[in-house]
């Protein structure tokens, strides 16, 4: 049917829905990509590596991916290793692991038309339900900047061929199949027939001109994209954790002893460099990472002392013992080679297991990665650095004028300056986690921006230093200040900042939707680990709904990103390429 909205889960949705197992939808949407871990193809479908069948090793390139679920068949097909494989879509998701993300890919997997928001009362999406749409699909124009699709040679790793239509817009088009558009639903990428993407239904929207509708589409895309960036961060951290731990798996204890001592000494030197650095890192990042490196140095030192007992135990078992150097009392963490080391590093490797993705984004996991990296010989260290996703090597200028490159691992972005001109989703993704806010814009900054935009005057106090004050002024120009205390309602995509005067605690939420009658805001916030996204209800009043008068909570500041081309802070997604359907008099879509 023309107006039929048939949401069916493609393999990407299923893959992304499975916690901890998700493929890079961009690659999949672009119908080619690379398996990042062994994938077993069996007659029943692609399952995990525990099954038997033909193994497609990591790095295997797949091409000509076709999602057949839209045609009433719960199948996907792809070419890999010289063969065409047709497998069940359900089983395929089990075998897909996270594809390696490109380091420069900070652009979210977004799409032109986000489509309808999920309605909790609506029937669940059944991937097996075929579409009955007879509407001819609308061809999506291929943006000039999209590179041509070329099939790679077997075994060749290809970068993602899907690029944003404009730098920093965060919009991508599926340039390969005009019949299918990708859209974000609750943070997951779903392939839809083009006709289904015509209809848009956004929460709390008011009837408006098509321009405003499109703006709302952009804001919803912003919300979903920011969430996906944060999830991608967590996946990258987990992948980095795995990569570094591989060097230590089955490492003989005497060798690990040397590695830990090397890590302690190397980190100690790096701490000295950071303490004497005068430029090369933003001052806030410098302060933060100096402490992180101090913790890593101390942890390596503690481990170096503890491993002595483990080595002694091994020696008492005899060098010829078959267990020499391989004893791992428990757990999967390769550093947990004794009870004491398990206590120090944890038994489980951070980031492993379906529910552990978030923990790879913690301070502890970051410190452990620094210990592992700096315990490697120089050649292996340089090689490892190239493969890590969350790593930078800024050049510091020390007090004595010497310039030195220092490898820094992190849990998010290290940027200098104001991040102006960046994609709004990327901007928001650094505003939600408290850990990343320390180096970017804090809740103190956001409240200053609000006051500046609301009153037209830059408040003083607080006292700002340059260049941060200029950054705050500049970024403030990208927002409108919304005064909820004057009953200005929140809309999707607003940043809701909570901060009380003279307090240090603060939160930043991004609004998914808002009910002005009940004052319920559905918001996204970053969890403590800064690697997971929580959706929650936040009522703007602490008073129950039955009260006649319901004062709003104090300390709430709402900032709305201005969707203009000259926004100094970031660019919202591009204007959609298609026209929105006209509403009929009965409220239906024509």
């Amino acid at each position: 049917m023309k107006n039929a909205r048939v949401l069916f889960g493609c393999f990407a949705l299923l893959a992304l829905c499975a916690p901890g197992i998700s493929a890079r939808a961009r690659d999949l949407i672009a119908n080619s990509g690379t398996f990042n871990s062994p994938v077993i193809v069996t007659p029943d479908g692609v399952v995990n590596e525990k099954s038997t069948g033909q193994e497609l090793p990591p790095g295997t390139v797949f091409t000509d991916f076709k999602d057949q679920t839209g045609n009433g068949r719960n199948e996907v097909s792809f070419k890999a290793a010289g063969k065409t494989h047709v497998v069940s879509a359900d089983a395929f998701r089990l075998g897909m692991q996270s594809a390696p993300a490109q380091k420069e890919e900070l652009i979210p997997m977004v799409c032109i038309n986000p489509g309808p928001l999920p309605d909790p009362a609506a029937p669940q999406i059944n991937p097996a339900v075929p579409t009955n749409s007879t509407t001819p699909p609308v061809a999506l124009p291929v943006p000039p900047s999209a590179p041509p699709m070329t099939a790679p040679a077997t075994g060749e790793t290809i970068p993602s061929p899907v690029k944003p239509s404009q730098p920093g817009t965060g919009i991508e088009q599926t340039a390969i199949d005009s019949k299918v558009v990708a859209r974000m639903v609750e943070g997951h990428v779903v392939n839809l027939p083009a006709s289904a993407a015509d209809s848009v239904n956004l929460n709390n929207d008011s009837p408006s001109t098509p321009d405003t509708q499109e703006l709302k589409i952009r804001r919803q895309t912003l919300v979903d994209s920011a969430a996906e960036i944060m999830r991608a961060n967590a996946r990258d951290a987990a992948a980095d954790q795995r990569r570094l731990s591989q060097y230590y798996t089955h490492m003989p204890l005497p060798v690990m002893d040397q590695s830990l001592r090397k890590a302690r000494d190397t980190l100690s030197n790096t701490v000295s460099d950071l303490e004497s650095a005068r430029s090369g890192l933003d001052p806030s990042d410098l302060a933060r990472f100096t402490n992180i490196f101090r913790n890593a140095r101390d942890k390596a030192g503690l481990a170096a002392d503890l491993i002595q007992d483990a080595v002694s135990q091994q020696n008492s078992m005899g060098a010829g013992s078959s267990l020499f150097g391989l004893t791992s009392p428990k757990g999967q963490n390769p550093l947990a080679r004794s009870a004491d080391l398990s206590e120090l590093f944890g038994e489980q490797l951070p980031g492993e297991g379906l529910a552990a993705t978030a923990s790879a984004n913690t301070q502890d996991a970051l410190v452990d990665r620094l210990v592992m990296l700096n315990g490697l010989p120089q050649g292996a260290l340089q090689q490892a650095l190239k493969s890590l996703k969350l790593a930078e090597t800024p050049e510091l200028t020390l007090e004595n004028g010497q310039k030195k490159k220092v490898p820094i691992l992190h849990n998010g972005y290290i940027f200098g300056g104001s991040m102006s001109g960046t994609d709004c989703s990327a901007f928001v993704s650094t505003a939600l986690p408290p850990d990343l806010r320390k180096g970017r814009f804090t809740t103190l900054d956001f409240t200053t921006m609000w006051i500046f935009r609301h009153s037209g005057k830059f408040p003083k106090p607080p006292l700002y230093r340059e260049p941060h004050q200029s950054h705050v002024r500049q970024v403030a120009g990208g927002f409108d200040a919304i005064d909820i205390y004057k009953k200005e309602p929140l809309v999707t995509g607003d940043l809701l900042v909570f901060r009380l005067a003279d307090a240090t605690s603060g939160h930043v939420f991004i609004v998914r939707d808002f009910n002005p009658k009940s004052l319920d805001a559905r918001v996204l916030e970053a969890s403590q680990s800064s690697g997971t996204i929580k959706e929650r209800n936040l009522n703007l009043s602490a008073y129950p709904a039955t009260e006649k008068t319901r004062p709003l909570r104090p300390g709430l500041f709402a900032l709305r990103l201005r969707a203009s081309q000259d926004n100094p802070v970031c660019k919202l997604p591009n204007k959609p390429q298609r026209k929105l359907p006209k509403k009929t008099s009965d409220g239906g879509k024509s």
Partner: protein
């Protein structure tokens, strides 16, 4: 004669013993002085501990406050510390911090139950700041935290305040980014905003 020899030997022995003991202490003093003179900025920061071997609640609070003073709570307290020294279920997460000139730790007082004690820490605040060096005035320069510790399996651990209530407090002398741009440390009235 023999007795005299014996006494002489004993006296010589005692003298030698005294000399060696004095030398030990003298050398120990020199050692300590040497250590202190050799302390670099990096050693002025409280190092990470993985186990709580402190015998008194004041020592636990002292460790926490020393870590806090160097910005380790703001930059991210580690899980191993949280578990060893507190009863919190998560670490504090604040993007800004309080700035102090100094702090004093009072002796522990009995808490509401047998295995709890209260330790008050009094800070002389100079402002509220963040990693960029931004400063806002404190509501009051006299800032006090009442730590409540509980003895669990022979270890004193911080039970209250909760991590949500705990504001990171750094010392100007130990956290360079907090220096400068500070407000007067005299008892401050809440400063109104000026434009």
């Amino acid at each position: 004669m023999r007795g005299t020899r014996l006494i002489t030997l004993l006296l010589a022995g005692c003298t030698g013993l005294c000399v060696s003991v004095s030398r030990h202490f003298f050398e120990a003093d020199l050692f300590r002085a040497g250590i202190q003179s050799a302390i670099s900025a990096e050693d002025q920061h409280e190092r990470l501990r993985m186990r709580n071997t402190f015998k008194t609640p004041e020592e636990v609070v002292s460790y926490y406050c020393a870590r806090d003073a160097s910005g380790f709570v703001w930059s991210g307290l580690l899980e191993i510390e949280r578990k060893a020294f507190t009863l919190w279920d998560h670490v504090p997460q604040h993007d800004t911090f309080l700035v102090a000139k100094k702090y004093d730790i009072a002796p522990a007082k009995n808490g509401p139950s047998k295995d709890t004690v209260d330790v008050e820490v009094r800070y002389l605040l100079t402002g509220v700041g963040d990693g960029h060096g931004t400063h806002a005035p404190p509501e009051n320069s006299d800032y006090r935290i009442l730590f409540r510790l509980k003895k669990i399996n022979g270890q004193w651990k911080i039970a209250q305040p909760s991590p949500l209530e705990m504001a990171p407090v750094v010392l100007e002398s130990k956290f360079p980014v907090a220096r400068g741009n500070s407000f007067d440390s005299a008892p401050a009235k809440t400063a109104g905003r000026s434009y």
